[in-house]
């Protein structure tokens, strides 16, 4: 049993820099949580506080049933994978894997057995005698994973472990980490700035910005129901489009209107938007929810194509709607469209998000 509880966690650097602000988070036993956010959002600092590599300014961290605030890293029973692998350069791969176990004074025969199990899982057998600098980036990161596995800790911590790998290898390692977690369910915290990694790996995604947790939820939850404009824009690729619209009533239905757009609001959203009549709000549209073609007039708008990006499987269209840029994805690749074309984009009903322009919190989705 090793749940992690962060209770009103704060980190100050001097009096000016408040890196982590009142973070409350409970990570269940065996759960895989991805901390995601732009650089400088406090995600790595949070992770390093869990690891014990940074002091806590205030608040409490519990791992299992122990408060670990003042425990040194070695007593927290954790293992960590670093962005730049952090392998011991002067030791062979075998010694790297054995280092932590030897520190625990484990008998050499047991160490050998543990290393055998880990190398089998990760396919490291042929590399055991090599030095880290003789390995490729991907191999080094696998050794770093192995070094964590052999320790059989309560918690795995990952600090942007895939950032130094090329795109193809990153995708492979992502799968490998996912497979490992399925084989050895262990409470894991994974820090990344890449929302795709967070979405694909995390049982739960925690989005952070400016030291605060913005939203914590399942990948589907943060994607489908972002609590504010930041989360909406950060999760999902290409990023969500935002348009300034005014809420008005036409007959019985509420509509969102700007000089270039006039869209009917679904009944579900109407209730929340009722109070916003006559006022400006920010409307969010995901590129993948826009489709080419008229559809129903009340659900489409005119756009001018600026850039066409053919991806083979789909086309990304950069368009201009009034004076706002709007990206449309998932346009069928065989569509004939060129820069300068006037097109209509239609949006699926119930896919509109509305945000308060001042607080940027969600009004309705």
């Amino acid at each position: 049993m090793a749940a992690i509880v962060l209770d009103k966690l704060n980190k100050h650097y001097g009096s000016l820099h408040h890196a982590v602000k009142d973070v409350d988070l409970t990570i269940a036993d065996k759960e895989f949580v991805a901390l995601v956010g732009p650089s400088g959002c406090g995600k790595s600092t949070t992770l390093r506080m869990i690891a014990g590599l940074e002091d806590i300014s205030s608040g409490e961290i519990r791992i299992g049933d122990r408060v670990v605030n003042h425990l040194p890293p070695r007593d927290r029973d954790i293992a960590m994978v670093f962005q730049n692998y952090a392998l011991y350069q002067h030791m062979s791969v075998y010694d790297n894997l054995a280092f932590g176990l030897r520190n625990k004074k484990m008998p050499e025969s047991e160490i050998n057995a543990a290393i055998n199990r880990a190398t089998e899982m990760l396919g490291l057998h042929e590399l055991l005698k090599r030095k880290p600098r003789q390995l490729s980036g991907g191999q080094q990161q696998r050794v770093a994973l192995g070094r964590c596995i052999v320790r059989n800790p309560l918690v795995f911590l990952f600090d942007e472990p895939l950032s130094n790998l090329d795109a193809k290898l990153r995708a492979q390692m992502r799968i490998e980490i996912k497979r490992l977690h399925a084989q050895l369910p262990t409470t894991s915290v994974f820090v990344t700035h890449d929302q795709v990694e967070a979405m694909t790996l995390g049982d739960r995604v925690v989005v952070m910005k400016d030291g605060r947790v913005q939203q914590a939820g399942t990948p589907l939850d943060v994607y489908g129901h972002p609590v504010n404009k930041f989360v909406a824009g950060f999760i999902g690729a290409p990023a969500m489009n935002f348009l300034e619209v005014t809420i008005a009533k036409e007959g019985d239905t509420l509509i969102a209107r700007s000089p270039a757009v006039k869209l009917a609001v679904t009944e579900a959203s109407s209730r929340a938007l009722e109070a916003w009549q006559g006022r400006q709000v920010i409307m969010g549209l995901r590129p993948e929810h826009l489709a080419l073609g008229d559809g129903v007039v009340s659900r489409s708008f005119a756009a001018k194509v600026e850039v066409v990006e053919q991806l083979g499987s789909e086309i990304l269209l950069e368009t201009r709607v009034g004076d706002t840029r709007v990206t449309a994805a998932r346009v069928p690749p065989e569509t004939i469209v060129a820069a300068g074309d006037q097109i209509r984009l239609s949006v699926q009903p119930g896919r509109l998000h509305f945000f308060d322009p001042e607080t940027e919190m969600v009004i309705a989705a």
């Binding site: 890293p73 070695r74 670093f82 962005q83 932590g100």
Partner: protein, 278 residues
């Protein structure tokens, strides 16, 4: 990798011509550097009467070497110099390595104070240390003793080489030590078992530099030692006597003093180059 561009004036020359020019330049520089040393060796091999006519005459002898080696004081000076250089290297490295590590890894009042202290001492001209050191050595009763010469050398090394060491450690990724902390090491254990082995090329380089620095040092030795602890640089200078200059003996001593330094530099240079490159 950055392309090295040939300067335009050489680019027009054929490859062979460029090589020849390069070879000539290198030979010229080597000769200029080696000339005093060759002259010194030549002087040491001449009889006393021939030292002013090194470029003439064909008489060569090893008598100067024999005379130097039979002089107990000179032999003692060699032993003293070797001993002091080695001890100064060992003790100053012990402090320099950990102080460089601290400067590289720790922030806070202790590290800042230490940083400020060695910074100030580094800024003070070397020569201005000598007189205060003389008075301190006198009042502590360590004038003309091993310890009286060792301590200032160690102090200078610490101030000068802590900076170099900090630079080396700055180049070593600290996350390796963080991994060691998580893997069960104490802060000290992470330093000894992970950071230190990675810094071995740098430490070797520093050891060579420290040893050569002390072996060649003249000023401290001149002021802080008398008759009891002769060292080679000072003894060499004492061939300037009222009766005249004994060039041949001075040259023979100098050549012998060159040998250990030369060998160390010869075998140590690959560490120095590798270490300084980190």
């Amino acid at each position: 990798m950055a392309m090295v561009r040939t300067p335009l004036m050489f680019a027009r020359l054929p490859v062979g011509g460029r090589r020849l020019l390069f070879g000539l330049a290198i030979t010229g520089i080597c000769l200029a550097v080696a000339f005093p040393v060759l002259w010194l060796i030549l002087t040491s091999l001449r009889p006393e009467s021939g030292v002013y006519y090194v470029h003439r005459g064909t008489e060569f002898t090893l008598a100067s070497y024999a005379e130097v080696l039979l002089d107990e004081r000179l032999v003692q000076a060699f032993i003293n110099s070797a001993l002091i250089s080695t001890l100064a290297t060992i003790f100053s490295l012990l402090v320099t390595v950990s102080s460089g590590y601290m400067l590289s890894r720790f922030r806070g009042p202790a590290a800042q104070t230490w940083f400020g202290t060695i910074y100030v001492f580094r800024c003070v001209p070397y020569i201005s240390w000598v007189l205060p050191l003389y008075f301190v050595a006198q009042s502590w009763g360590i004038y003309d003793t091993y310890i009286g010469l060792l301590l200032p050398h160690i102090a200078v090394h610490i101030c000068f080489f802590s900076w170099l060491m900090k630079g080396f450690f700055d180049g070593i990724d600290p996350s390796m030590e963080h991994a060691a902390l998580i893997d069960g090491c104490t802060r000290w254990g992470a330093f000894i078992r992970v950071a230190l082995p990675s810094a071995i090329p740098a430490i070797s380089a520093l050891a060579v530099l420290c040893w050569l620095f002390t072996w060649n040092e003249f000023l401290f030795a001149l002021i802080l030692t008398g008759n009891k602890v002769p060292v080679i640089t000072v003894v060499m200078a004492q061939f300037v006597t009222e009766m005249g200059l004994r060039w041949n003996l001075m040259a023979a001593t100098a050549v012998m003093a060159l040998v250990p330094a030369f060998l160390l530099a010869l075998f140590g240079q690959k560490y120095v180059i590798r270490g300084l490159r980190i």
